[in-house]
Symmetry: C2
Subunit: 411 residues, 2 copies
């Protein structure tokens, strides 16, 4: 199956998938098992850019409980010049106090040695259980082991950052710019504890295009807002979410600020991040279907609240799981998000079929609608009275597998 | 089993359960099947106070999508002098437009005739599916049928207001006041679409004590804040929630304002509504366990946000279901509720056992804790740095049954 599988992603014609994969010029990656995961799976990944002129940009969770690696990376790393990324799964290194900060710094130091860069050019990321001390000796051994396996393939790195993910989220793309071809690769993980605001997962993007750091920051910021900031699996903001874009410039093809190439690169990054975000939603622990809600009208306060209320409603999510076009639950979510605003003349359409108009039921082809909601992607449109703000949120359904994953196993 | 089953309810010594049940003096009730429920079950209930001096108080959902019966009752009923309550299950009469308002008014008119009172002394309530027109002819026939079956037993009424409830929530109590014994009875329904703010269910309370309407309103307001305003099954605010207290005065025992009797009556009402609220949480669609989170410290904005974030977290709720004392998920919820506040030196205790202190793990007896979280009620205490606000929320777990009830059946 093609990487770009969702109808909600616009893929530019100049952007093509590289079937065999492989990192852009200037990058090497590796992934090894260092003993953090009980099952002995890969749990330590390293990405190294060998280009001294590498630029970068990053975004982090806004949680008030920040994991140690997030604190260390935000405070001690030159976010516009990240050469090395070290990431582990199996332990989030969150709610681990000063000792956790020490271990994150130690991880950063080991990765700096491995990549032969300064510590302040290393970003560290962790994902896994919260509240358990990270065994730094294992991490250091893992970093050293990974450093001897660095290569142009990112499959092992991708495996090393996965936790409850059911499938890998990884791609290599080629983009045609005015100066020639550039490559963009990405590896993401995320399945649970996913809610907007913004990242709520790990995602690493590499390109051999030459971008100024300010351009990387601008494009990453815009594209994160339209992707990872727009998804929810369970409405839960994580302590560890991190997105990093690195540009090695090794292709020699520059993306000049305010050029057509900048727009083209931004469109490609937008398609990439939206599809990765949708894959995270699709992998939402046990998810069977992906929903998209688009709310229009209303005002700047109410529209996002309504979109989030619908996307995070366990009643809407179970209905999506059960292929039940139950718009009453959507009406209930609208009312909850907009207290004391009755009467509210909302319109609701599901898969383009108007099911409620002016706050009440609309006659429709129930058989056609019943069939439409059994598909992999279901779209809900809500229109509120008012001037015309618009907000979209992608969300997973809520089914038995989510309960099984989260109730029956200690994570 | 005794009605008062939760350790989180303080039951005054002067308050005793009446084993055989039965309404207070002045009240009659009935419940019949009028054809709204597909299974032919009881779906129309009537409560009538025969005392002209009856006083009352009411509270309603704050949803922006108000059901027609809520609108009609709020706008056309003398809320301090409700003589008759008519309630149906099987149809919420919500998102039904002007026709829904007409049907609610028709229901009110029929109930007024049945109770021989003016329409503005009738409260109407509905619960069930949203967005489907209520068949007013069935309701009117039901009201007439119920009016010929009015009696001192409230079992049929209680059955007629149930939807996905697994058990009835109904009790008759006797309270000793300085002037003599008074009786208090109550019937509640609710299992899903339950979230604070406040009621989110139907609850009817009758007493033969003589209360001024202002006293009834004051006591109901305070007690709802400590009960139905403090519960969440699935974080979903309903369109129809209504709580009504009626006082017939038929016992001749007065509850004077600012008297010891007022305090005693308030304590009794508090115990009654808290236990009913806890029963609703316990009946939370498919719930196996009830949690209570108490958050202290912090500030007036943060503490309620943290309490709600924990109570509504699907990760915390699945951990409660799976008897997993996973405090990392509580830490995650705290961070989500208090963005950009890192580092946050929170303490967490589960069943009195400190599991996190100063934002990180605390040594504890894991075996004892593992046993404690398998019980019916689990208490979580969170302390935040700060001056000392306190907020409690009761919540149900999230298990397979919730998904089964909400995904596999159209409601």
């Amino acid at each position: 199956m093609s990487f770009f599988s969702s109808r909600w992603v616009d893929v530019p014609e100049s952007l093509t998938e590289v079937p065999g994969g492989g990192l852009p010029q200037g990058f090497r990656a590796a992934g090894v098992a260092c003993g953090l995961k009980a099952d002995g799976g890969a749990d330590l990944g390293l990405i190294v850019s060998d280009a001294p002129q590498t630029t970068s940009a990053a975004r982090f969770t806004r949680s008030g409980v920040l994991a140690a690696p997030v604190l260390v990376t935000k405070e001690r790393t030159r976010l516009d010049a990240i050469r090395v990324v070290a990431a582990n799964s199996g332990n989030a290194n969150a709610a681990t106090g000063n000792r956790g900060l020490d271990e994150a710094a130690r991880m950063q130091g080991a990765a700096a040695m491995a990549g032969r860069v300064e510590s302040d050019q290393v970003a560290v990321c962790s994902t896994g259980v919260i509240g358990v001390q990270l065994d730094g000796r294992k991490v250091v051994r893992g970093v050293l082991a990974a450093s001897s396996e660095l290569g142009s393939d990112d499959a092992a790195f991708s495996a090393a950052i996965m936790t409850t993910d059911a499938f890998e989220k990884r791609v290599a793309l080629e983009l045609e710019l005015s100066g020639g071809l550039v490559r963009i690769s990405a590896q993401a993980k995320g399945a649970g504890m996913i809610q907007p605001a913004f990242a709520t997962m790990l995602c690493f993007v590499q390109t051999d295009a030459a971008l100024e750091a300010a351009t990387a920051d601008l494009l990453l910021g815009v594209c994160v807002k339209r992707s990872f900031d727009r998804i929810s699996v369970d409405g839960q903001l994580s302590t560890n979410d991190t997105v990093i874009l690195q540009a090695s410039g090794a292709s020699g093809v520059a993306v000049a600020p305010q050029s057509a190439d900048e727009i083209a690169f931004g469109q490609a990054l937008d398609a990439l991040l939206r599809q990765l975000a949708l894959l995270i939603v699709k992998d939402g622990e046990g998810a069977a279907r992906v929903g998209r809600v688009v709310v229009t009208g209303g005002d700047a306060r109410g529209v996002p609240a309504v979109a989030r209320a619908i996307a995070n409603s366990p009643l809407v999510k179970t209905a999506l799981n059960g292929a039940d076009p139950n718009w009453g639950r959507i009406a209930q979510s609208i009312g909850m998000a907009l207290p004391y605003s009755s009467p509210l003349l909302f319109d609701i359409a599901i898969e383009g079929v108007p099911v409620a108009v002016g706050g009440q039921a609309a006659e429709h082809d129930t058989a056609a609608l019943a069939e439409a909601v059994t598909r992999d992607e279901v779209e809900y449109a809500v229109e509120l009275p008012g001037e015309g703000v618009e907000e979209e949120v992608f969300f997973s359904d809520l089914g038995h597998s989510y309960v099984t994953i989260n109730a029956e196993y200690t994570t």
